[in-house]
């Protein structure tokens, strides 16, 4: 029995309405309207500095918006007590490298925080749940290992287990595959796919457009702090858009089940500035720093 199948999961709709963040006089993200459809795998793509990580921080409620709102199931996320929000939306920041020697079980149990009582801490029901989360992500065998000794692939699975431990129906993962080799990357995307099929919403920041096209139900394309396009990958990921946003020549390879691109650098004459590139969203002073 998986951690999900016990009850019929119904992920809430997560929505960013007119969202914008200003930090130190610079807009990292502005005027973004985006709906994370329930029980779908949404992939967020975009060049470095497009505001992908910022988007996830906003959707998770860990950063406050300068303007706009995040709505979870129609309610203002910021008005929700933090612990309650954490039970519904889980977030894993980019390249988390644990520094302290928790065991895998202790580490995953951190995810029970929003459910724990201050006086009694972790109860046996919590421990049973942790076992199921470890099992569901195939890391039960690692339960007593120190998190500091895990490989990249193992760590990502453990982080997924911690997300499941919160019982959140919406999982936001920032570049979960960036440190993984091909096999582990596909493995993780498969796991994400399965969690979606069980009813959760999963949002992944990905750099691999082909993986996004293959695994995601929806793709959101960010550039220069604005949302450029959103929709099913077959509609959104067109060579034209890829050229404008990522500044590479994209050739769709024939015969594949989903869109598969072959990428080439742009010819000199097509470099930004010379072509009719869709510029950054209006109101952007300059591009945000390269933080993902």
């Amino acid at each position: 029995m998986t951690a999900a199948s016990g009850s019929a999961l119904r992920a809430p709709r997560l929505e960013l309405v007119g969202g914008g963040v200003e930090r130190r006089g610079r807009w990292l993200l502005r005027r973004v309207d985006l709906v994370i459809e329930p029980s779908m795998l949404t992939s967020v793509v975009g060049p470095n500095g497009a505001g992908k990580s910022t988007l996830l921080r906003l959707l998770s409620g860990t950063w406050r918006l300068t303007e706009g709102q995040v709505l979870l199931g129609g309610f203002d996320l910021a008005a929700l007590p933090r612990r309650q929000a954490a039970r519904r939306v889980a977030y894993v920041p980019q390249s988390v490298r644990p520094a302290f020697e928790f065991t895998v079980r202790e580490f995953v149990t951190l995810g029970r925080y929003p459910h724990e009582s201050r006086l009694f801490g972790t109860r046996s029901a919590d421990r049973g749940w942790i076992d199921r989360c470890l099992d569901d992500t195939d890391v039960l065998a690692l339960a007593d290992r120190r998190v500091t000794t895990l490989s990249g692939g193992e760590l990502q699975r453990v982080l997924m287990a911690r997300c499941l431990a919160t019982e959140a129906e919406v999982l936001l993962l920032d570049e979960p595959t960036s440190n993984l080799d091909l096999a582990h990357g596909l493995d993780l995307l498969g796991l994400a796919r399965r969690l979606v099929d069980e009813g959760r919403s999963v949002v992944l920041v990905l750099h691999d457009l082909n993986a996004a096209a293959r695994f995601a139900d929806r793709v959101a394309v960010l550039d220069g702090g604005g949302l450029v396009a959103e929709g099913p990958p077959s509609e959104v990921l067109a060579p034209e858009l890829v050229r404008h946003v990522f500044r590479v020549e994209a050739v769709a390879l024939p015969g594949a089940a989903s869109t598969v691109f072959d990428f080439e650098p742009l010819a000199r004459s097509d470099l930004p500035g010379s072509a009719g590139r869709t510029g950054p969203a209006p109101g952007m002073r300059r591009r945000a720093p390269a933080s993902g």
Partner: protein, 352 residues
């Protein structure tokens, strides 16, 4: 920065049982050993008369005074001071995600020292017993207030800014201290008291000092326990902790004030006892892991037996003269810390 050592963990309850046994043993020896040789049976008789209800046989009043009024408060105070410092150190190491943080890293122990030295220099301590401890606690809290005020912007207190502000304040307060001491050089008695106090110790303390430390200890421990789980999550970084529902700023404030109260109260009654708050939590984390629900009580207990044991050494090493407690803890603590570092040099991993 992390020092990841491949030490096998030990069971929590085993560790606590062993610690309690050590504490009881050191305390018993502490009551029995001293400049006046006593019969263990007499010591037992005094304890029975003082602690157990009902009728008891007569006890030599001289022995009663030595055991109950001189040695017992000293042992109890040593245990409390050690516990407070180790607990505060464990909290600071968790908050700063740095195993090299000490209880006074944000300037609280130097602040407490300035408060006490001020009281001693201006003769307030002679006029009013509570003057030095109260000013010491006040100095600790005031230091923290200054540091957090400096480091907070828009309701957010980054720990790195806090750390840097603490370093700066520590330097400044150290200078104030030196100045106060230099000022008092002419007054022999005040200078002697200050030097004595700066070296740290629990010599000549009585039950009143225990009473002075108790409120700070209770408040500090309760707050520490209440926020123990939040510290676990903070170890994984503020972003992760916030996403899991931790109120980061509230946790920081609570932990900082709790540690400041513990440190200030301990420094107020015993002066500056070094290395306990740094080495003990570090060692306990190696043995028990970083989960604060186990780490904090274990650090408290370890600090308690460590300081009671160190005080025992302090008064028996060069008997009948006494070595200062702070000297003993540093002499035991510092080499042990270096030993840990050197032995596991190859495994030392520096990250973040």
């Amino acid at each position: 920065m992390t020092i990841a050592l491949g030490v096998r963990r030990v069971g929590f309850w085993w560790y606590m049982t062993a610690g309690a046994a050590l504490l009881v043993t050191f305390a018993a020896v502490g009551l029995y050993r001293g400049s006046v040789p006593l019969d263990p049976a007499d010591v037992m008789a005094v304890l029975a008369r003082r602690l157990l209800p009902g009728e008891h046989g007569p006890v030599d009043p001289r022995v009663d005074t030595i055991v109950w009024s001189l040695r017992a408060p000293r042992v109890v105070l040593a245990a409390m001071v050690g516990g407070c410092l180790a607990l505060a150190g464990a909290q600071m190491q968790g908050l700063f995600r740095n195993p090299l943080a000490s209880p006074g890293i944000v300037g609280t122990s130097t602040g407490a020292a300035v408060g006490a030295v001020f009281a001693l220099t201006f003769g307030l301590a002679g006029a009013f017993l509570l003057a030095a401890p109260l000013l010491a606690v006040g100095g600790a809290l005031l230091s923290l207030l200054i540091v957090t005020r400096i480091a907070t912007r828009d309701g957010y207190t980054p720990v790195t800014t806090l750390l840097l502000a603490g370093v700066a304040l520590n330097a400044l307060l150290g200078a104030v201290n030196s100045w106060l001491i230099a000022r008092s050089w002419e007054q022999y008695e005040a200078a002697r008291q200050i030097a004595y106090w700066m070296m740290g110790g629990v010599t000549d303390r009585d039950w009143r000092h225990v009473g002075m430390l108790l409120p700070g200890l209770v408040v500090g421990c309760v707050v520490a326990a209440w926020f123990a789980r939040d510290l676990d999550l903070l170890l994984e970084g503020e972003e992760v902790a916030a996403s899991l529902g931790v109120d980061i700023e509230r946790t920081k404030r609570a932990v900082l004030w709790s540690a400041a109260i513990l440190t200030g109260s301990a420094v107020a009654v015993s002066g500056v006892v070094g290395f306990v708050g740094l080495v003990v939590p570090h060692l306990v984390r190696l043995l028990l892991g970083p989960v604060h629900r186990r780490l904090l009580p274990a650090a408290f207990l370890t600090g308690a037996w460590f300081v009671v044991g160190a005080d025992l050494l302090a008064r028996t090493l060069a008997a009948p003269r006494e070595v200062h407690l702070g000297v003993v803890t540093a002499f035991v603590g510092a080499p042990f810390f270096l030993y840990l570092l050197m032995r596991h040099e190859k495994e030392v991993a520096v990250s973040r």
